[in-house]
């Protein structure tokens, strides 16, 4: 992939990425946030808007992270971070918790990813076919089960390779699952036509973005 010289632009920071995704979540949705950047989304839900966050380990209705002197040692999320519970929250066992996921009851899951293809394939759990002891956790359940899957990730790898591809080279988490991608460069829908750009970082042109993206980008019809 060729790098093109680009006029100065300002990539979204991780908090901005999380904030953009959070802004697009309507009130009342049940949402599972993957480990890493997606977890930050809960910090950016607009005030007064009720969104109900789910964690695979049987926690529904999580609130913000606890203050350091108010940690409840029995209350963690799937990323094994201490969390809080909002009034209205509830606990359940793992099979009941994954019934919510696998039974199609979650309105949204937001995961990180290594690669997303323009047919919606996602690879986020192993970086080679021969990974020693790859760790899948709940990612395949979430990708296959949630009503919508969004991905929050850097647009390119550290060495500049596009993470938005025509075909995932890493082992798949689920085929055809991703509906939307928030990167540090753009917000992109995955449609029947492929990647459709909904918005870009300030100063970035579509040509600039395409230069950093393996798969073909489209504008909204």
């Amino acid at each position: 992939m060729s790098e093109t010289a680009v006029a100065s632009f300002k990539p979204f920071t991780r908090p901005q990425m999380a904030q953009r995704a959070a802004a697009d979540i309507p009130e009342g949705w049940y949402v599972n946030l993957g480990i890493g950047i997606p977890t930050m989304i809960s910090d950016y839900v607009p005030a007064g808007r009720e969104v109900i966050f789910h964690s695979e380990n049987g926690v529904l209705g999580m609130g913000p992270a606890p203050e350091k002197d108010k940690i409840e040692p029995w209350l963690i999320n799937a990323g094994k971070q201490y969390v809080t519970m909002l009034p209205g929250g509830s606990f359940c066992h793992h099979a009941d918790s994954f019934s919510m996921i696998r039974g199609g009851h979650l309105d949204l899951c937001v995961l990180g990813a290594f690669q997303v293809a323009d047919n919606g394939d996602i690879a986020n759990w192993a970086t080679s076919e021969n990974d020693t002891a790859p760790a899948v956790g709940g990612a395949m359940d979430l990708a296959a089960g949630a009503k919508r899957l969004w991905v929050l990730m850097e647009h390119t790898t550290k060495d500049g390779s596009s993470k938005l591809v025509t075909k995932c080279s890493y082992p798949l988490t689920a085929p055809g699952a991703v509906k939307r991608i928030y990167t540090n460069l753009a917000t992109i829908d995955v449609t029947d036509r492929g990647f459709v750009v909904l918005g870009m970082a300030p100063g970035l042109s579509l040509e600039d973005l395409q230069a950093r993206t393996d798969a073909k980008l489209h504008l909204p019809a």
């Binding site: 009130e27 009342g28 049940y30 007064g48 009720e50 109900i52 789910h54 529904l60 209705g61 519970m85 909002l86 009034p87 209205g88 929250g89 509830s90 606990f91 359940c92 099979a95 994954f98 019934s99 919510m100 996921i101 696998r102 039974g103 199609g104 009851h105 979650l106 089960g145």
Partner: protein, 227 residues
């Protein structure tokens, strides 16, 4: 603010379409969403497929819905009751279809629908009429048959407590099929004896979390009135 509590039966019942599959909670007279069945009668949807443990008794509730020729098919484990006249009359006249399902298979099919399991193997019914036409498979030296999930378009649920997020508890043997109807249905409608403030129900004691519930109506009818 999320508020699943509605103020009228008409609001609760809005959008139920003709031809819907309706899953009905309750076992005996305990935990039966009688007010919701009356609401459905009033609402008018017809050509319904109703799944419930029984096929109604007397001329009220489910029996009344059937008597009005609104039910095309009933899926149940035990069509008999203390007064099954409505069902039996319709059934003998060929005016209602019947699918008999073992009670545990009925419960498990609903649970499967809620849990994203489209089909599962079970030993129940193997070697009986229930197994006719079903896929058989030997697993670990025993024969099982394949059963499919039972999804509801609408679930009618009776609960003891509910809050505005739709979290539910049930009273004693009033739990029965109710949590399953909630999780298995696209539109889960609840009549609740008590409305609680958010957070009043202990998070460890919630039986049906609000994710499985769409709308709640306060119906403080008191105790079940016998059979």
């Amino acid at each position: 603010m999320i508020n699943k509590i509605v103020q009228s039966m008409a609001d609760l019942m809005s959008g139920i379409k003709d031809g819907s599959v309706v899953l009905l909670g309750g076992f005996g007279s305990v935990g039966q969403p009688n007010a919701l069945i009356d609401g459905l009668i009033e609402q008018g949807a017809k050509d319904l497929v109703v799944a419930a443990n029984n096929a109604g008794a007397g001329h009220v509730g489910l029996a009344r819905l059937m008597e009005l020729n609104r039910v095309r098919k009933i899926i149940c484990s035990f069509p008999r009751s203390s007064d099954p006249v409505v069902f039996e009359t319709l059934y003998r006249a060929g005016k209602i279809e019947l699918e008999i399902v073992p009670q545990g298979t009925l419960a498990e099919r609903m649970r499967a629908a809620g849990a994203g399991v489209p089909a599962f193997f079970t030993a129940t019914g193997v070697g009986t009429k229930m197994a006719v036409g079903k896929e058989h498979r030997e697993i670990g030296g025993r024969t099982y048959i394949l059963e499919e999930w039972l999804k509801g378009d609408v679930g009618l649920v009776e609960a003891w407590e509910a809050d505005r997020w739709g979290n539910l508890t049930f009273k004693q043997s009033g739990r029965n099929f109710n949590p399953l109807c909630a999780m298995a249905s696209d539109l889960s409608l609840v009549q609740a004896q008590h409305i609680r403030e958010l957070g009043e129900i202990d998070p460890d004691h919630v039986v049906t979390p609000g994710i499985f519930v769409d709308r709640v109506l306060h119906v403080p009818y008191g105790d079940p009135s016998g059979f």
